[in-house]
Symmetry: C2
Subunit: 307 residues, 2 copies
Amino acid sequence: MRETEFVEQLRRQFPVHAPVATGIGDDGAVLTNPDGSQTVVVSDMLLDGVHFDVAGTQPELIGRKAIAVNLSDLAAMGCCPTAAFISLAVPGLTQSNRFLNELYRGIQSLSERFDFTIAGGDTNSWNGPFAINVSMIGAPFDERAILRSGAEPGDSLVVTGALGGSSASERHLSFEPRLDVARLLTRNSMVHAMIDISDGLAIDLHRLLDAGGTGGLLYLESVPVHDDVAAGLPSEDRLRAALSDGEDFELLMAMPPELVGPASVLVQSQSDSTLTIVGTVTEESGCRMIGADGDVSDLPEIGWQHG
Amino acid sequence: MRETEFVEQLRRQFPVHAPVATGIGDDGAVLTNPDGSQTVVVSDMLLDGVHFDVAGTQPELIGRKAIAVNLSDLAAMGCCPTAAFISLAVPGLTQSNRFLNELYRGIQSLSERFDFTIAGGDTNSWNGPFAINVSMIGAPFDERAILRSGAEPGDSLVVTGALGGSSASERHLSFEPRLDVARLLTRNSMVHAMIDISDGLAIDLHRLLDAGGTGGLLYLESVPVHDDVAAGLPSEDRLRAALSDGEDFELLMAMPPELVGPASVLVQSQSDSTLTIVGTVTEESGCRMIGADGDVSDLPEIGWQHG
C-alpha cells in the first residue's frame, strides 16, 4: 500500500473530534485551546539508512536535521515553534555518550536560534540501528494556522528557494527551515494554503491541490532548479530532479496573484529566501503541467514515496 | 551513563522557558496556553526486543501498549488525553499491511474507549526492527496538572493496584492505565504529587521524593505484591519483584493522610482499582525502608534502568 492510501485509510478510521480541529493529512495537527487560540503539533521519525547514514554523518547534523524537518512542517502550518520532544533508539554497544552529546549539540543549535524549549525526551538502547523521533509544539504566527486546503482558483502557486539535488549534495542535512518566510507572509495574511516540499514538488503539489479540492497548472519552465543539480545534465533530467528529488524543505504556497509582488519584496528584503511563481490554481480538478512548447499534460506523481 | 544522569544533563543543557512551564524530568511537559490553561505533552518510544517481542506478540497488543504507556503518563500528570501522534519504523520486507491494520486496531481500542483523536502519524519502512513512538496531548482533569514535585512532609505515600510480575505475565501488554483514579482524585484535589510506576516502585519512589526535595519511609510489609509474582517464591524475592520488576503502570501518589480514607472509598466505589498506603513523606532527605523487624535502612534504587 502506498503512503497516500495508508494515510487516507487512517483518516477514515480515526475521525477528528474536539479539541482537535485538523488531524491526519496536513503537515501538522491543529488543536483548539479553551480560549479559541490554536496549538499545532508536528511529528517526524528519522531512521538510519533512510533519512541519513549514521556511519558517514556527523551526529550534530543528524540532530539538526531531526529538528529542522519538524521546523519545516511548522513553517508550512504558519507556526512558530515552542517545544520539542525527542525520542531516541540508540544501538547499545556501538554508540557512545559522545555520539549523544554531539547529537544534542546539533539539536541545541536550532533550539537556541529559534528559541524553543527541549521539553521532554525518551532515550532507549537496543540492538537495532539508530532512530530518532521528534514531536514539536507550535503556535500560529497569526491568529490561525495555515492549512494545505484553502487554495482558491486563480491563486498563484509560489515556491521559496530552488529545488532538486538535496540528498546528493547533503543539503538535506543543513537546509534552512523557512520559518522567516512563513512568519512574514502569514502575519500579513498573504497565504491561502501552504505545504512544505519534502517528497518533491510534483507529489506535494498534488497534495496541496487535492486538499483544497482544486486543480492546478504547473509552469515547467518556471520551476527553479537548484545549483545542487548537476549543471551538465540534459535540461529534462534537471527538471525531473527539481520535481521529484524531494528533501527540499522549501515552501509551496497558494496566494492571491496581486499579493505575489508585495510578498516577493517582503521576502527578499527581510529573509534569505526568494519567491518564484511556478503555476496557478484552476477551477477544474486535476494537476497539469505546461512545457516550453505549450503542450499541456497531466503532472505525474513522481518523487519520494515513503513506505 | 545512567538514565538519571543523562536526564539531569539534558535538564541543565535545555533550560525551560515560556510557554513551557515544566520540561524534562516529569512524566510529561506542561505548556501554558494564552488564557492560562495548560496543555500537557507526553512521549514514549517502544522497541522490538526491549518493550515487546514482535515475533511472539499480537500486533493489537503492541499498538495497545504503545498508547497505554502514554495514557499512564497522562494519568500521572492528572490529565485527560485529547490527541495522539504515532510514528512507526516498519521492517520493509517482513511486515505486512495486516500487521499495521492489527496494530492500529489495538490503538483504536483505546482511542475509542478514552475518546481521543489519532491526529497524526509518520510511517516509514526500513531494514531495522519494528519501532513505535507515540506522543500524546492532554488537558488537566482539574485546573492544573499534577507534578512529581509537591509532596509534603507528613503526606501518605499511596499506590494503586498491586506490583510485580508484569513483564513475565504479559500484564505489561494489557494493563489498565489509571485514568479513572487520576480523574477522581485530582478533581477532588486530593493529590500533592504523582508519578506512574514504570521502572519499579523503588526507583520511581526515589524520583518522586527527589523531585519534591523531601525524603520518605517505605513500609515494606505494606507493599502490595501482585498475584502475577509466583506464590511459591520466598517472601523476600516476592517483595523484591514488587519493588523492582517495573512495567506496573500503577500510580504512586503523595496525599494528605486525612484524605486517604475518603480517597480509598471514592476509588473503590467508582473505579476498578484500590489504594494502599505504602509509606510516608519525611522532612529529612533520603529514601528509607522499614521491614517487619523494625529495622530501617536505605532503599536501594533497584529496578529497570533504560539505556
